[in-house]
Point group: C2
Chain length 339, copies 2
């Protein structure tokens, strides 16, 4: 292990985005006198009559949820993107805008209001994975949809307004910023090396064995070298696939197992239902040659020191670069020890 | 006014960073059932014996603050960057890191613990501006410092751990991500047009007169066309200067007046001491030709609907692009009406 990385301020390069993160290992000793987050360790009922995501309940638009038994998908009642939205474009000197069409969906992971992915059986998480595959394929086959973003906001601190286990999909006509960056870096590497950037990175990580949190036959869970969030993690398929629809039934179960492992470790870390935003980055559905894409899932959890103290990505981070105190290696070690 | 921009989902282009923001005007009607922020409207004393930033008090490292009368600057006791930090570099396949040196400072804006910039007289804000100028020049003249980031985190929700009015400066040897983007866009435009990108943009904004919040002889306060945060604002000098050290004494007062105007409007908006992170983007101090730079100050406030409901930049925003509901034009109108 390079001990300089544990002792001195440095920046690390994110090979997927082409951006840097500032790491200040010595700064973890800073006392915290700022805001504490509220922790809710309330025990929730399996069915909440006031929850608009529970089976059989009425949503805000008057629709009644079916009596679903595993996963339930519906179009977001307050969708940020719509398919029938007007097409227009503004190209007025330095004012540039483009209309954006899309479809936004909500995915209930389970009818059980009291659960989160961390509490669900691997076979039930696998039903969520199958739904993601189906939605990616179906939405992606829509002519106006060129990119499908699957994500979850978990916990009130991550802007989640309902504790019922659920995620979202925002699919749209153009590529969002983060995808444009990863598209560029993966494409350039693939053109030169004829191999997947993330595949080569994974091989190097397995060799170094310093940031691996968990692995099974088909997936590796690791803290990326360039992680921004204190306990950030990434799930990478060992084989290069462009998108989640391409993995086999066995691999799908192994993916569910990897999700189970990391979310359980998260909950143990600070003895709390661990908040995070997670998301899957995968090939655009734009019909172009996307053979350079190697899909992966990332978790961006905000907590830093305890269930109540989070990392604030504020002034310097907004105007300069993201900054972290504990190193990726320290974070990976702590999570690995919990599995 | 282009009414499509008020009615339909679209993305807008940020000419300074080359990135996009997703705007969903129809979505402002969404009900909010999520986390509420704590509001602290406590009246603070002018001097707090427990505050480590108040005059005469002892800091955590044992140093005693002088009996300062206006602005007081010291080196951060938990600096993320240090000048005597080891120089090293990691260039190991896909693991890339570089050591980073720097100097981090804290600037107390006033000895009065009860105040914020919004409550301070313009002549006192001007003393803060003079300090920023002096620090930019002094830090920038240091051989190892090639960029100086001046910023403020205001409010507990923005990770600020002490309500005493203060800001920070993190200065460092390399350019952070945000500066690399703005460097590129401004440089390209300047090379082609021989004029400042932001200067041409400002002229177009003054002509359109839809997003101007406030202006005086030397500065314009506006909501940028591509604003991300609900009530984001930018202060732009009418004349192109590369950095704050170049403005005249009159202009410095006009800048202080602009800061006063926007921070007062913010406090009125939701009748609360308005949280934000603010920062000044200006020419690197790397000794290169920075004639394309047009310095500016931005405010990124998180509140959306009230003193307790903020905008969460989470799942979609982290994995896709930033997203906003109320339009830049609506936000500018509301702020302008409060001045
Ligand atoms: O330096 P402070 O006030 O202790 O810390 C605050 O500002 C820093 C710079 O934006 C951030 O890195 C921290 O997360 C935040 O809590
Ligand atoms: O869609 P929701 O859950 O109402 O809203 C949440 O997730 C969205 C997508 O990340 C964000 O834009 C919102 O700020 C957040 O509160």
């Amino acid at each position: 292990m390079n001990t300089d990385l544990q002792d001195f301020s440095h920046k690390r390069f994110n090979i997927l985005t082409g951006e840097w993160v500032l790491v200040s290992p010595h700064r973890a000793k800073r006392p915290w006198q700022g805001q504490n987050e509220a922790v809710s360790n309330e025990v929730r009922p399996a069915h909440d009559p006031n929850c608009y995501l529970c089976a059989g309940n009425t949503r805000i638009n008057g629709e009644i949820n079916p009596d679903y038994k595993d996963v339930f998908v519906f179009t977001n009642d307050f969708a940020a993107l719509q398919t029938d939205s007007k097409t227009f474009s503004v190209d007025n000197g330095l004012f540039k805008a483009e209309s954006e069409q899309g479809i936004c969906k909500v995915i209930c992971f389970s009818p059980d209001h009291s659960k989160s992915l961390a509490d669900m059986a691997v076979k039930d998480i696998n039903k969520v994975v199958s739904t993601w595959q189906k939605e990616y394929t179906e939405l992606g086959s829509n002519d106006t949809i060129n990119y499908v973003q699957i994500f979850e906001n978990k916990g009130a601190v991550m802007g989640c307004s309902n504790p019922h286990p659920h995620g979202q999909i925002w699919s749209q006509s153009t590529l969002p910023n983060e995808i444009i960056k990863k598209e560029k870096e993966q494409k350039e590497y693939y053109a030169i090396n004829k191999r997947s950037l993330l595949g080569d990175y994974l091989a190097q990580e397995l060799e170094a064995n310093e940031r691996i949190i968990y692995s099974n036959n088909d997936f590796v869970v690791l803290t990326p070298f360039w992680a921004i969030w204190p306990f950030e993690a990434m799930i990478v398929p060992r084989k290069q696939y462009n998108d989640i629809s391409q993995i086999s039934v066995t691999e799908s179960l192994a993916f569910a197992d990897a999700i189970s492992a990391i979310t359980k470790a998260y909950d143990k870390l600070f003895s709390t239902s661990f908040p995070y935003s997670s998301g899957i980055h995968q090939a655009p559905t734009n019909g172009e040659d996307n053979s350079h894409w190697h899909w992966h899932m990332s978790f961006y959890p905000p907590l830093l020191r305890s269930a109540t103290v989070k990392k604030f990505m504020v002034g310097y981070e907004m105007f300069g670069s993201p900054q972290r105190d504990i190193t990726a290696e320290q974070a990976a070690t702590r999570l690995r020890d919990l599995i």
